[in-house]
C-alpha cells in the first residue's frame, strides 16, 4: 500500500478537491442575514409554521448572543456575517437516480469519487451541494426494514412527527451562537431513523460540498437509533480554494435509545478558507453506545467538540479524534463527556499534529454529576509538533461531583523526534519517508478505526499535507 501512496505524491488539494465549477443556481439568497432571509428560506421550502417560527426565534438568539471569547477570537472576529450567502439552491429537488443529477454537479461528485464509493462499500449515500441535497439513495433492503435515510428537508415533509419529536432536543438553538445561526438558516443535512433491533451493517454516507464563493453551508443532521438498533454514518467534506472565506456551521444531533449503538465518522477536509464551526452532541440512553470518530484535516479554523451525554445506566461514550493543522490553520477541537447516570463510562483519545505555523488545541470537558457513582472515564491527549513555529495547547476541564469514580487523564506533547528520524534514516529511508512514517504511525490508532477505503484516503491526505515538509 505504501508504494501506491508514494506514487500519489504529486497531487495536491488544489487539483483534487480545490477546483470550482461555474455557479449555476435556481435561487441564491442575497448576502447578509435578517428575518427576511429566514422567512424566504422557510417559504421556499414550504415548511410548517412551527419550523418557520423556530427559525425566527433562533435568529433572534443568534443576533443577541455575543461571539465566543475563547477558541480563537481573532479569527472568529474576522467572520463577516454580512458577506455570506446563507442559502443557495443549485438544482431542482433531490434525485434518487444518479442520471438525474444535473450535469455540472454530477461532474463534481464524479471527480470526488462519490458514486464509485457508493457502488463499492456503502449502503446509502447522500450528496449535498451548497444548501441542498442533490442526490440520495438507499439500499432497498434497508428501506424494507424500515430504515429511513433521507435529507433533512424531505424528512420534515414526509416524517414530520418523528422529526418534530426529536428536533433540537439534543442541541437547542440557545446552546451557542453557531447552533442558533444553524437553527435559523439550516438547509439540507441527513435524517436517519433505525427501527428497534435493526442493525445497519454497512455504513451510510453523506458527502458535503461547497462550491460557491462566500457561501454558508448549514446542514442539520439528526440520527435516531431506536432501542437495540445499530448504525454507522460517515461524512466527508471538501470545498474549492478561494481567497475569501466561507462558513460551514452544522448542527448534528444523535439519539441512541436503550441498547442502541451509533458510530459517527467525519473526515473533514475543507479548503483553508472555510470556517468550520460545528456543534455535535449525542444522547446515550441506558446501555447505549455512541462513538464519534472525528478527523479534521482541512479548514481555516475549526471549533468542534463532539459531546456525549450519558443519560442512562451503563451507557458508554467514545470520542476518537485527530486534527491536523498546517500553516494558516487552527484546529480547536476536543470532546465533552457528561456522565448523568451511574455506571457510565467514557473514553476520549485526541491526537493532533501541528506543522510549520499550524496551531492545534485540545479543549475538553468531563463532567460527572452528583450521585453518578461507579463512573469511569479515560482521557488521552497526544500532540505532535513538527517544526519550530508550530503550536499546541491543551485545555482540559474536569468537574467531578461524585467520589466513587475512576478518572484517568494523560496528556503528552512530543516533537517529531530527531532520534526517531535518525533511526529510520540509518536504515536507508530518506528524510521525507521517515517523517511520513512517523506521522502515519502517530495517527494509526485513528486510521485503524476507519473503514478500509477511508483509511487509505486518510493516509493519502496526510501524505499530501506532509509533502515537502522540512523541519
Amino acid at each position: 500500500m505504501s508504494a501506491e501512496r508514494i506514487a500519489d505524491l504529486n497531487q495536491d488539494y488544489a487539483t483534487r478537491y480545490g477546483f470550482s465549477d461555474p455557479e449555476e443556481f435556481l435561487h441564491k439568497a442575497p448576502k447578509g442575514l435578517d428575518h427576511e432571509t429566514v422567512e424566504m428560506i422557510s417559504r421556499f421550502k414550504e415548511e410548517p409554521d412551527w419550523m418557520r417560527e423556530f427559525r425566527h426565534q433562533a435568529l433572534d438568539t443568534f443576533l443577541a448572543k455575543p461571539m465566543p471569547r475563547w477558541g480563537n477570537s481573532e479569527l472568529l472576529d474576522g467572520i463577516d456575517f454580512d458577506n455570506i450567502h446563507y442559502y443557495l439552491k443549485s438544482s431542482e429537488g433531490s434525485a434518487n437516480d444518479w442520471d438525474d443529477v444535473p450535469e455540472n454537479i454530477k461532474r463534481t461528485f464524479d471527480k470526488l469519487g462519490i458514486p464509485e464509493a457508493e457502488q463499492k462499500f456503502l449502503a446509502g449515500v447522500s450528496a449535498q451541494y451548497e444548501s441542498e441535497v442533490v442526490y440520495h439513495s438507499i439500499n432497498e433492503n434497508l428501506e424494507k426494514l424500515g430504515v429511513i435515510f433521507t435529507d433533512m428537508d424531505s424528512a420534515l415533509a414526509r416524517h414530520e412527527d418523528i422529526v418534530r419529536k426529536y428536533w433540537a432536543t439534543v442541541i437547542p438553538p440557545e446552546d451557542n451562537k453557531f447552533s442558533a445561526l444553524n437553527s435559523a438558516v439550516w438547509s439540507g443535512g441527513s435524517f436517519i431513523y433505525v427501527p428497534k433491533n435493526t442493525r445497519v451493517d454497512i455504513p451510510l454516507q453523506a458527502y458535503f460540498r461547497i462550491n460557491a464563493q462566500n457561501m454558508g453551508q448549514f446542514e442539520r443532521t439528526l440520527i435516531i437509533a431506536d432501542e437495540g438498533a445499530e448504525v454507522h454514518y460517515i461524512e466527508g467534506c471538501t470545498a474549492p480554494v478561494y481567497s475569501t472565506d466561507s462558513l460551514h456551521s452544522a448542527v448534528v444531533e444523535l439519539v441512541a435509545l436503550k441498547g442502541a449503538k451509533i458510530r459517527y465518522t467525519t473526515i473533514q477536509n475543507w479548503s483553508n478558507n472555510v470556517y468550520n464551526l460545528v456543534t455535535k452532541r449525542a444522547h446515550a440512553h441506558e446501555d447505549a453506545v455512541v462513538e464519534w470518530v472525528d478527523g479534521n484535516i482541512g479548514s481555516k479554523l475549526t471549533m468542534k467538540y463532539p459531546a456525549i451525554h450519558l443519560l442512562g445506566e451503563r451507557a458508554h461514550g467514545e470520542v476518537l479524534s485527530i486534527a491536523y493543522a498546517g500553516t494558516g490553520q487552527h484546529q480547536d477541537a476536543g470532546a465533552k463527556m457528561i456522565h448523568a447516570a451511574p455506571n457510565t463510562s467514557s473514553r476520549i483519545i485526541s491526537k493532533s499534529i501541528s506543522k510549520d505555523e499550524g496551531r492545534s488545541s485540545y479543549r475538553g470537558m468531563v463532567k460527572v454529576h452528583k450521585g453518578c457513582h461507579d463512573c469511569r472515564t479515560n482521557v488521552e491527549c497526544d500532540a505532535l509538533l513538527i517544526g519550530e513555529k508550530s503550536r499546541t495547547d491543551t485545555f482540559p476541564t474536569m468537574e467531578i461531583a461524585e467520589d466513587d469514580v475512576r478518572v484517568e487523564h494523560e496528556a503528552r506533547v512530543s516533537k517529531l523526534a530527531d532520534e526517531q528520524l535518525f533511526y529510520l534514516q540509518s536504515r536507508g529511508l530518506d528524510e521525507d519517508q521517515a517523517r511520513l512514517m512517523i506521522v502515519n504511525g502517530f495517527i494509526e490508532p485513528f486510521v485503524r478505526e476507519l473503514p478500509m477505503e477511508y483509511a487509505v484516503e486518510m493516509n493519502r491526505l496526510i501524505e499530501l499535507e506532509m509533502e515537502g515538509s522540512v523541519g
Binding site: 505504501s2 530527531d418 535518525f422 534514516q425 540509518s426 536504515r427 528524510e431 519517508q433
Partner: protein
C-alpha cells in the same frame, strides 16, 4: 583476499566529533578490511557511542575528518545515503516508533537499501527466515517498532535488521548490553551468520563478554576520545583482567610526553 585487505571496506581518518562545541572524539583513525571484525573497547563515557553515531551520519554532531566506505568518501553524505550504500548501525538504544509495524518498517528499509520495491511475498519469506534464525516469535511482525519491547527483543530486532539489510560494514553499538547469556549466544550467532567473509564489523563494547562469541581480529582500546592501543584478541583478555586504568596512565603519560 589479499587485494581486499589492501583496500579496506571501511576507514576513517582523523575523525573529530563535537557536541555543542565540546569535543568528544579527538582524532580517530581506523581501517577495517572486508570480513574483518574489530572491537572498539572502552570505559563508559569515553565517547565510543558518539563515534559510532558520527560514523553513521548523525545530523546533530559536528564531525570533521574523512570517512570512506569501500573506497568512496561518505563524509558529506546523510545517514540514509550512507545506509543505502551499505553502512549499518546497530543501536545501543533502539528508538521506538509507535504505530509503525515491524513488518512495514522492515519492508521499507529493505526496499530503500535494495533500490527497488521488494515484493510482498519475497519480503515475507525473508522476514520469516530471519525471525526463525534469531528465535523471534512471529507476532513480532505486527508489533509496533521497538514500542514496549524488552531490551533483549530490541537487540534481536537490530541484528535481524542487519541480516535483512546485508550491509557491507556494520557498526554495532553495545549490542551485548541488556542480554542474558542465552540471548547473547543467539544474537552473536546472528551476527556471525549475517556478516560472513565480506562484511566488515566494528563492535563497540564496554565488556569483553561478547567477544567470546564474536571473535575479533583486531581490538582497539578507546579512551577519552582516542584509540590508545590496538592489538589482537589477547588485548581484550588483558583488559578483562586488568581493567582500563593501567592504560589510562599510559595515555596521560604519552599526552604529557
Amino acid at each position: 583476499m589479499s587485494d581486499s585487505r589492501n583496500t579496506p571496506i571501511f576507514s576513517c581518518h582523523d575523525v573529530h566529533v563535537s557536541v555543542e562545541g565540546k569535543e568528544i572524539v579527538k582524532g580517530v583513525d581506523l581501517e577495517v578490511g572486508a570480513g574483518e571484525k574489530h572491537a572498539l573497547m572502552g570505559p563508559n563515557g569515553s565517547g565510543k557511542s558518539t563515534l559510532a553515531a558520527a560514523l553513521m551520519g548523525h545530523p546533530g554532531l559536528e564531525v570533521t575528518g574523512r570517512i570512506e566506505l569501500a573506497g568512496e568518501d561518505i563524509s558529506e553524505l546523510e545517514a540514509d545515503e550512507r545506509a543505502r550504500l551499505g553502512l549499518f548501525l546497530g543501536f545501543q538504544y533502539p528508538v521506538a516508533v509507535p504505530g509503525v509495524t515491524v513488518a512495514s518498517f522492515l519492508r521499507a528499509a529493505m526496499s530503500a537499501r535494495q533500490g527497488r520495491d521488494v515484493p510482498v511475498k519475497e519480503f515475507r519469506l525473508k522476514m520469516q527466515a530471519a525471525f526463525e534464525a534469531l528465535g523471534v516469535p512471529r507476532d513480532f511482525a505486527g508489533r509496533y517498532l521497538n514500542d514496549g519491547f524488552s531490551g533483549g527483543e530490541k537487540k534481536r530486532l537490530e541484528i535481524m535488521q542487519m541480516a535483512l539489510l546485508e550491509p557491507r560494514m556494520a557498526l554495532l553499538d553495545e549490542t551485548d548490553s541488556g542480554l542474558d547469556i542465552d540471548a547473547l549466544k543467539i544474537v552473536s550467532a546472528g551476527v556471525n551468520e549475517a556478516t560472513g567473509s565480506e562484511t566488515g564489523v566494528l563492535m563497540v563494547t564496554h565488556y569483553q563478554r561478547i567477544l567470546d562469541y564474536i571473535k575479533p581480529d583486531v581490538v582497539h582500546v578507546f579512551m577519552d576520545g582516542r584509540i590508545v592501543r590496538t592489538g589482537g584478541p589477547e588485548l581484550a583478555h588483558e583488559l578483562e583482567e586488568r581493567g582500563y586504568d593501567w592504560l589510562a596512565d599510559t595515555t596521560t603519560a604519552s599526552a604529557g610526553g
